[in-house]
């Protein structure tokens, strides 16, 4: 018995100590995790707001200071740019280390090492699309004594200084202790990979495959009628022309970091384009790609139209100089993408939003100029159907010769599981997917290395429009509209980035990979959309198509590319009706929740219902609509009726066609389902309702002849019925907030560490945008207004939904949310108490 007792005690003790020391499977090493002197409790220690202290940093050349305001916004003062960016890296790593590590893992395909098998799809995708390869190629292409390289190196040193501190103290943020995985040293390539991740989020789409899918079902003619290249509704481009055709700027294929080097080629091949064009139907590889896209988190591909920015000058602004407002829309998260700060050195004086992982300020102002940005949303992704042969495995036909597929091998470490091998095949067009007998390659502008850091750092120092434009000539992907206002009263909006041009073919559909439809170049920078000091004294970008129908280049279509222009219409309507605007006016406009489409459609609806017999609830609902001011306020019943009506109206008109032609939406419900999320259908229905009420689309197959009024009446009846079921019989109680909420999810995916869902105003088309589903987590990720009141004098305010720290227990984790939610902004740079000061000194 004694032996049994001893054996049992030994076995249980060993098991317990093993679990506590090294963990097992998904269970972390609980001894380290729960260590009262360290462990996850250090999250609480980190939570303490920064106190004054002296910090010794390796790599610093001279002392610098960091002053924090009470909300955690730092002002860095250094004697050189190098020390400035080193301090910025140190700050990012001190307050956003968990986020930095998370972004790096996503971008470099190592998330599963932390999160387990659930994120394998993300890692496979990123290794295939090649953000890391592009970052490595870009770094290799960067002169190491250039300002961008020096900034990236200094930034990395700052991050690594913080990592070294943590390695010495063991006081890691809780997530690292919990997982037992600690970050390796930071490198410039990591920053560039994160830069590429953001580019991917803003520009990578599956639109050509969606087109192919629709063509398969609806037929090409109807697809192009309903999803045309140019929108059918009236839009307000910021560049109204005249336009110039300046030819094409070359973009050599060998610059694609994720394409195979074609080499001299092998034996001749016979091109068989018939098997590669759209008429051959939607293929299995394309389906595989769509499925892969659909499985990714929404933050990893371009999902929603987003961002507003506008400028005004001269008589349009109270001071007579210029003003700028910017609110880029992204997936909201805690912590935010942004980290607010001010940087000051002899050669740099800039304040605004930095992007975690990168040096410099991405959106903000310096002593002379202010800038913001919106996504152009032009087509940046092309798909090529490669010609292969079962007789020639591992080869494809390009430019008349058989070429070898280039193969790369990766191993993905998986937490709690075995490593997963991955093979990535590249053709001359990019990474390829093969399924059954079809091979499709993805050619994405983000695969072309782009010196964005060079551009950002030069913009930070620019003193006038010419320098600003010159700086952005290095900006290639993501393609963005940059808004500009300076202290001399000049304003501008200009698009920077690649607009790919192909030799021949329809780029919105999958293209033949045999060489005839290859990218030959891009729209020359000088011919890209732009406006400078417009006669109207106002200009706005809200992701609408930036140019009119006469623009001589193809830039994208109405499907999953440009916004339908309702936000832009509302912004222009406001700007053109408010002379001598103040910064308060701009802030008011940023919070505007008027649904511009409703202002045009609701009168048509009430007219259509005028002579229609209605029951009591329908009459009451109609009364609500008649007295509604088109504002999507939280308390408005009219907002609920309008939004439900528009969704039903789309469904009444288009769903019968989808059913009759068997459009299967399961491969990509986000893009293919009939909903208000499909800009093309919104634009069609708007245009037909206003100008073409007898369009044949109102008479689907097998149904009696219809028109817009008939469809509106049916949609309204369904709306009242739906809302009665959902919200009760009394339309006066159908407040929008009962249907609509906003949420700011935690980056770690923990519901308790996020914010909301909370009842909220706005919809996807209001200036104060709430994009996505009825529980919206996309919207203004940063709001900023800058008013130039004199030479080198500006009053600037900003706010973002979150806080400066990624530590959930910190008072700086979500302290900006209340201001953001209520439309309040904070002075930028901070002007309040900045008595907390760090002194950064060179370590010996």
């Amino acid at each position: 018995m004694r032996y049994v007792n001893a054996l049992a005690a030994t076995v249980v003790s060993v098991l317990l100590m093993v679990v506590l020391t090294v963990g097992g499977g998904p269970v972390p090493a609980l001894g380290h995790v729960l260590d009262p002197a360290g462990g996850v409790w250090n999250w609480g220690r980190d939570a303490a707001t920064a106190g004054s202290q002296t910090v010794r940093l390796h790599g610093m050349r001279a002392p610098a200071t960091v002053s924090f305001d009470s909300a955690g916004v730092p002002t860095v003062r250094a004697r050189s740019d190098r020390d400035l960016y080193l301090a910025e890296g140190y700050l990012h790593a001190t307050f956003r280390l968990t986020q930095l590590d998370q972004y790096r893992r996503v971008a470099e395909g190592r998330l599963s090492e932390l999160a387990g098998p659930s994120t394998l799809e993300s890692d496979r995708f990123e290794l295939q699309i090649g953000l890391l390869r592009t970052a490595q190629a870009l770094w290799a292409d960067t002169q190491k004594d250039s300002p961008e390289a020096q900034a990236l190196i200094a930034y990395s040193e700052g991050v690594n200084d913080r990592l070294a501190e943590l390695r010495r103290s063991g006081d890691w943020p809780g997530v690292f202790t919990l997982t037992g995985l600690y970050p390796r040293d930071w490198t410039p390539v990591d920053s560039l990979a994160i830069q590429n991740l953001l580019s991917q989020q803003l520009t990578l789409t599956s639109a050509p495959l969606n087109y192919a899918w629709l063509v398969d079902a609806l037929g090409k003619e109807r697809t192009m009628q309903w999803f045309p290249v140019l929108p059918v509704n009236d839009q307000r481009p910021y560049d109204v022309g005249p336009y110039r055709n300046l030819g094409v700027s070359p973009l050599p294929a060998e610059r694609n970091a994720n394409a195979a080097v074609p080499g001299g080629g092998g034996e001749a091949c016979t091109v068989a384009p018939a098997s590669l064009d759209t008429a051959s139907g939607f293929g299995p590889a394309e389906r595989a790609i769509l499925t892969q896209f659909q499985r990714l988190p929404q933050t990893q591909t371009h999902t929603f139209s987003a961002s507003n920015s506008w400028v005004a000058n001269g008589p349009a602004v109270a001071g007579g100089r210029s003003m700028l407002a910017g609110d880029p829309h992204l997936q909201l998260s805690l912590p935010s993408y942004w980290y607010q700060l001010a940087l000051s050195a002899p050669e740099t004086e800039v304040t605004g939003a930095s992007l975690v992982g990168l040096p410099g300020v991405v959106i903000g102002h310096n002593a002379r100029i202010a800038w913001s940005m919106t996504d152009v949303q032009n087509q940046s992704t092309l798909f090529y159907r490669e010609q292969t042969s079962p007789d020639r495995p591992g080869q494809y036909c390009w430019q008349g010769k058989w070429r070898h597929v280039q193969t790369l091998h990766y191993t993905i470490p998986v937490r709690g599981g075995a490593d997963v091998p991955l093979t990535v095949d590249l053709t001359v067009h990019g990474p390829m997917v093969k399924a059954m007998e079809q091979t499709v390659a993805i050619s994405w502008m983000g695969d072309y290395p782009a010196h964005l850091m060079r551009a950002i750092l030069a913009v930070n120092k620019a003193g006038n429009y010419q320098q600003f434009r010159e700086a952005l000539s290095d900006w290639h992907s993501p393609t963005l509209n940059f808004t500009y206002a300076d202290d001399q009263g000049n304003i501008a909006i200009m698009a920077a980035g690649y607009f790919p041009i192909i030799k021949a073919g329809e780029p919105w559909l999958p293209l033949s990979g045999t060489g005839g439809s290859d990218i030959v170049g891009t729209i020359p920078y000088a011919a890209a959309p732009q406006v400078y000091n417009p006669p109207s004294h106002v200009a706005a970008s809200a992701n609408q198509r930036p140019v009119g129908p006469d623009y001589p280049y193809y830039i994208g279509t109405s499907l999953n590319a440009f916004d339908n222009g309702y936000r832009a219409d509302q912004i222009y309507a406001y700007l053109e009706s408010h002379p001598s605007m103040t910064a308060d006016d701009f802030r008011t406009l940023q919070m505007d929740v008027t649904d511009n489409l409703a202002t045009r459609i609701v009168p048509r609806l009430t007219k259509a219902l005028a002579d229609t017999p209605l029951d009591g609830a329908q009459r009451a609902a109609l009364d609500q609509l008649r007295s509604w001011d088109s504002r999507m306020t939280a308390t408005s019943p009219g907002a609920s009726i309008w939004w439900t009506f528009w969704s039903n109206y789309l469904s009444v008109v288009f769903q019968p066609w989808w059913d009759a032609t068997h459009v299967r939406v399961d491969v990509d419900p986000q893009v293919l389902s009939v909903s208000a999320g499909l800009p093309s259908l919104d634009e069609d229905l708007e245009a037909w309702t206003l100008r073409d009420p007898d369009n044949p689309a109102f008479s689907p197959p097998g149904r009696p002849h219809g028109d817009a009024a008939t469809a509106m009446r049916a949609a309204f009846a369904k709306t009242v019925s739906d809302l009665r079921k959902k919200l009760g019989d009394d339309p006066s109680t159908w407040q929008w907030s009962r249907l609509h909420t906003r949420e700011i999810p935690s980056l770690l995916g923990a519901a308790a560490l996020g914010y909301g869902p909370k009842p909220s105003e706005g919809d996807r088309w209001t200036v104060n945008a709430a994009e996505g589903d009825m529980n919206s987590s996309w919207g203004p990720s940063w709001r900023m207004v800058i008013d130039w009141t004199g030479t080198k004098t500006a009053t600037a305010t900003a706010v973002y939904p979150g806080g400066q720290s990624d530590n959930p227990t910190s008072p700086w984790y979500r302290n900006f949310i209340a201001d953001w939610w209520n439309g309040r902004q904070r002075p930028m740079p901070p002007t309040g108490d900045t008595s907390t000061r760090w002194t950064l000194t060179p370590a010996s």
Binding site: N5, S13, V40, S746, A750, L753
Partner: protein, 159 residues
């Protein structure tokens, strides 16, 4: 209160240990209290030094010492539990005293693990881990030492 080990076959009165300050029981009590204080101190200081396994080590030591000194296992266990609890609680309480949001940190951890963010739950789990370590240490050392001393000594009825 000190509990003296009894012998099955030859029960004998406990050896009277006297001193100038008190009776045998008093001395035993003082020894127990001293042992408890020492154990608490050791666990606390070791824990502060990131030696999170201190409750187990101290438990092992307590098991061995109490076995050698023929002290009942219950005493060893209670001492180990108290040392583990206090030794792990002191650093946590200290954190709270200096203003660290201990419960919030625990809540964040539990939330990341996918559970409702109930911070106190993790505090309880942490203290439980300490207690289990201490108890296991006592069990292990007494069980192993029983192998070597069992033939020379009668079994401990409390084992």
């Amino acid at each position: 209160m000190t509990e003296v080990e009894t012998h099955e076959t030859a029960p004998a009165p406990p050896e009277a240990v006297t001193s100038s300050t008190g009776s045998a029981t008093g001395v035993g009590t003082r020894a127990t209290v001293a042992g408890l204080v020492a154990a608490v101190l050791i666990v606390t200081l070791a824990t502060v030094a990131h030696l999170w396994f201190a409750p187990f080590v101290v438990g092992v030591a307590l098991g061995a010492v109490t076995r050698l000194r023929a002290v009942r296992v219950r005493t060893a266990l209670l001492t180990a539990v108290a040392a583990a609890l206090v030794g792990w609680a002191v650093p946590l309480v200290w954190r709270a005293v200096v203003g660290e949001p201990v419960i919030a940190a625990a809540g964040a951890t539990v939330a990341v693990a996918g559970l409702p963010a109930l911070g106190w739950l993790l505090v309880v789990v942490a203290l439980l881990v300490a207690v289990i370590q201490g108890m296991l240490g006592v069990w292990l050392s007494r069980a192993l030492s029983g192998l070597f001393t069992g033939r020379r000594r009668p079994p401990d009825p409390a084992d």
